[in-house]
C-alpha cells in the first residue's frame, strides 16, 4: 500500500518526467506508443462492430505464446508475437468459420495457447521480470530495430485497412446486402482477422498480452457511444487510443509503475465518460424522435 501511495505521489513530479523524456529509450517508447495508438484506434471501431473483442483477446494470448517462444530461442519478441498472432488468426479463421462456433473455438485455442506459453517461460532460464513483461507490457524495453519492424508492420496494416475499408464496413454492418452487392465477405473475415492479429501482436509489446484490449477494443467502444458517424467514430477512436497509449506512458514514467496500469486506466476512464455522454445522447435522440412522431 505504501508502495502504491509512494508511486502515485510521483505522478505529478514533472521534473522527473521531464528528465526521463530526455532519454532515447523513452523517446523510442513514446514513438512506438504513438504508432500503436494510430493502428489500434483505426481498427477498434471495426473490431467492435464485428464483435471481435474475444477474438482480440484470444489472438493476444497466442501472441504471448509466440513471444515466449521467441524469448526462449533468442529471437526478437515482436517477431515471435507476430508469428503467434498470425497463427492465431489463421486458426480462428479456419476453425471458427461458423459464427455459432467461433466463441467456443476461441476459448479452446486461447487456454491451450496460454498454457503452452507458460511452459515456454518455465523452460526459459532467463530472469523472471523479462517474462512478466510479456503479460503486462514493458515499453521501455523497445529497441530501435524493433521500432522499425513495428513501423513497417503498422504501415502495412494501415494501408491494407484503407484499401478494404468500405467493403469491410459494409460487410460488418450489413453482410447480407454486402454479399448481394458482390463484396467477398467470406474472404474479408480472415483477412481482417489477420490485420487484427498483427496489430494485436504489436500491442503485446506496449501493454502486454493480457491488456491489449485496452487499445484494440476500448477506444472503439468508447467512440461508438458518442457518435453515429463511422468516420467520426474512427477519428475519435484514434484520439482516444493515442491519449491512452502516449498519455499512459507519460504518467507511468515518474512513478515507475508498469505502463499497462496507466494505459488501461486512461482508456477505461475515457470509456466511462463516453458511456455517460452517449446515454444522454440516446435519450435526447429518442425524445427527439418521439416528438417528431407526434
Amino acid at each position: 500500500m505504501n508502495r502504491l501511495l509512494d508511486a502515485l505521489s510521483r505522478i505529478f513530479d514533472f521534473g522527473l518526467t521531464g528528465e526521463l523524456l530526455g532519454y532515447p529509450f523513452v523517446q523510442q517508447a513514446l514513438l512506438a506508443a504513438a504508432v500503436l495508438g494510430l493502428v489500434s484506434g483505426v481498427l477498434a471501431p471495426l473490431v467492435v462492430t464485428r464483435k471481435m473483442s474475444f477474438a482480440v483477446h484470444g489472438t493476444a494470448e497466442l501472441a504471448f505464446t509466440g513471444a515466449a517462444a521467441a524469448l526462449l530461442i533468442g529471437v526478437g519478441v515482436t517477431v515471435g508475437a507476430l508469428a503467434g498472432a498470425v497463427v492465431a488468426a489463421l486458426l480462428l479463421g479456419l476453425l471458427g468459420q461458423r459464427e455459432t462456433e467461433r466463441d467456443s473455438v476461441i476459448g479452446a485455442v486461447l487456454s491451450f495457447g496460454l498454457g503452452l506459453g507458460v511452459l515456454l517461460l518455465w523452460m526459459n532460464p532467463e530472469r523472471a521480470s523479462n517474462k512478466f513483461t510479456l503479460l503486462v507490457g514493458q515499453i521501455v524495453g523497445v529497441r530501435p530495430e524493433e521500432n522499425m519492424l513495428l513501423g513497417m508492420a503498422s504501415l502495412i496494416v494501415l494501408l491494407v485497412t484503407a484499401l478494404l475499408y468500405r467493403p469491410l464496413l459494409f460487410a460488418s454492418v450489413d453482410s447480407e446486402v454486402a454479399a448481394a452487392r458482390g463484396v467477398p465477405t467470406g474472404v474479408l473475415t480472415p483477412v481482417f482477422a489477420l490485420l487484427v492479429g498483427i496489430a494485436t501482436a504489436l500491442g503485446v509489446h506496449v501493454v502486454g498480452a493480457l491488456l491489449v484490449m485496452a487499445l484494440m477494443v476500448t477506444p472503439g467502444a468508447a467512440a461508438m457511444r458518442v457518435t453515429a458517424s463511422p468516420v467520426k467514430a474512427t477519428l475519435l477512436s484514434v484520439v482516444f487510443a493515442e491519449v491512452a497509449a502516449v498519455g499512459g506512458i507519460l504518467l507511468s514514467l515518474a512513478p515507475g509503475v508498469p505502463v499497462s496500469v496507466f494505459v488501461t486506466a486512461v482508456s477505461f476512464g475515457i470509456y466511462l465518460v463516453c458511456r455517460v455522454v452517449g446515454g444522454l445522447r440516446v435519450n435526447r435522440l429518442t425524445r427527439g424522435n418521439a416528438a417528431a412522431a407526434v
Binding site: 468500405r166 464496413l169 453515429a228
Partner: protein, 295 residues
C-alpha cells in the same frame, strides 16, 4: 412426387402490356431479367427446371411458393452468387454475375438494431459504393447528392441522420429501399421485405417499391409468402412449388385449378373483400395467409 408440367406455352405477358415502363424510357431496353430453360438443383434435389422467364423493364413480378421451393435460390442465381445447373440467365442483357451494378437488393427487415454507429445516409451510401475498394475520398459531392435523392424518394430525409438502431423496422426498411435504388438499378430483388412489418408499414414499403418500378422503369422481383399486400401492384406471378411452377397474371395463377395442379392436392383460392385467401396449400403457407387475413 409428380412434377406438374410447366406449360409449353408459358403465359406471355409482353412488355407492351406491362404498362408504364415503355411509356417513359421504353425504347430498346433488354428484358430486366431473362431466364432460358433454367434449372437449379442441389445435389440430387431439383428445385426447378425448364424455367423460361422474361421480366420487362418496369414490371412487378411476385415470386410465391412454400419454403424450400427455391425462391431465395432464384434470387441468388440472379445475383450471381449461385450458378444455374442448366440453362442461361441474363440481367439487363448481360449474363448474371457477382457484384452486379444493375441490381438493387432489399432483404428482410432485421438486425440493424445494434448499429448505433451508422446512420441512414451512411447505409444508403454503402449501397452506392460500399463494394468498392478504398476509403472513397473522391466524388464525395456526387455521392452525397445521389444519397439525398434516394432518401427523398423514400421520404426518409427526416431521419437520415438518426442512428439506425433507434429507428423502427418500417423506417429501417425504407432506408433499405433507398439503399437498393441509389445505384439506379434495372432490377430490384426483394427477399421478403415485408416480413415482420406491421400492415401499415407493409403497405408503405410495397407502395414505395411499386412507385420505383413506375417512375424509373426498373423491374421488381418480389419474393413473398403473402401476395395480398402487393396484390394491387403485381403484374405477374411466378409460383414455385415442389419443382414445378406457373407464370402468369394473378388471376391466371392464383385460382383453385392452377394451384391444385401445382401442389398436386386440393387447393381452394377465394377472393374475400379484394384479398386472396389460399386454403389447403401446405401448412406454412396457410399460416401466413391467415396472419395477413386478420390484418
Amino acid at each position: 412426387m409428380q412434377r406438374p408440367q410447366p406449360s409449353t406455352e408459358p403465359v406471355e405477358h409482353p412488355a407492351d402490356e406491362a404498362g408504364p415502363a415503355e411509356t417513359a424510357l421504353g425504347e430498346e431496353r433488354p428484358p430486366a431479367v431473362r431466364l432460358r430453360d433454367a434449372a437449379l438443383s442441389y445435389g440430387s434435389r431439383e428445385l426447378w427446371r425448364g424455367l423460361d422467364l422474361d421480366v420487362a423493364p418496369g414490371e412487378f413480378l411476385a415470386v410465391l411458393g412454400p419454403n424450400g421451393a427455391g425462391k431465395t435460390s432464384l434470387l441468388r442465381v440472379l445475383l450471381g452468387l449461385a450458378p444455374l445447373s442448366g440453362g442461361s440467365v441474363s440481367i439487363a442483357g448481360e449474363p448474371a454475375h457477382r457484384g452486379n451494378d444493375r441490381i438493387g437488393y432489399i432483404p428482410q427487415q432485421r438486425s440493424l438494431q445494434n448499429s448505433l454507429t451508422m446512420r441512414g445516409n451512411d447505409l444508403v451510401g454503402l449501397g452506392l459504393d460500399g463494394h468498392r475498394w478504398g476509403i472513397g475520398l473522391r466524388h464525395r459531392a456526387t455521392r452525397a447528392r445521389r444519397v439525398r435523392e434516394a432518401l427523398r424518394a423514400v421520404e426518409a430525409t427526416d431521419y437520415a441522420k438518426t442512428p439506425l438502431g433507434l429507428l423502427s423496422g418500417g423506417e429501417q426498411q425504407r432506408l433499405r429501399i433507398a439503399q437498393a435504388i441509389v445505384s439506379e438499378p434495372d432490377v430490384l430483388l426483394c427477399d421478403e421485405p415485408l416480413l415482420s412489418l406491421d400492415p401499415s408499414h407493409q403497405r408503405r414499403v410495397s407502395e414505395l417499391i411499386g412507385r420505383q418500378t413506375r417512375t424509373t422503369g426498373s423491374a421488381a422481383l418480389f419474393v413473398t409468402h403473402e401476395i395480398n399486400p402487393v396484390l394491387p401492384l403485381v403484374d405477374r406471378v411466378l409460383y414455385l412449388v415442389n419443382g414445378g411452377f406457373r407464370i402468369g397474371t394473378p388471376d391466371e395463377v392464383m385460382n383453385s385449378t392452377t394451384l391444385s395442379e401445382l401442389y398436386g392436392t386440393e387447393v381452394e383460392v377465394a377472393r374475400v373483400g379484394g384479398r386472396l385467401v389460399v386454403a389447403g396449400a401446405e401448412h406454412e403457407q396457410d399460416h401466413h395467409v391467415h396472419e395477413g387475413g386478420e390484418a
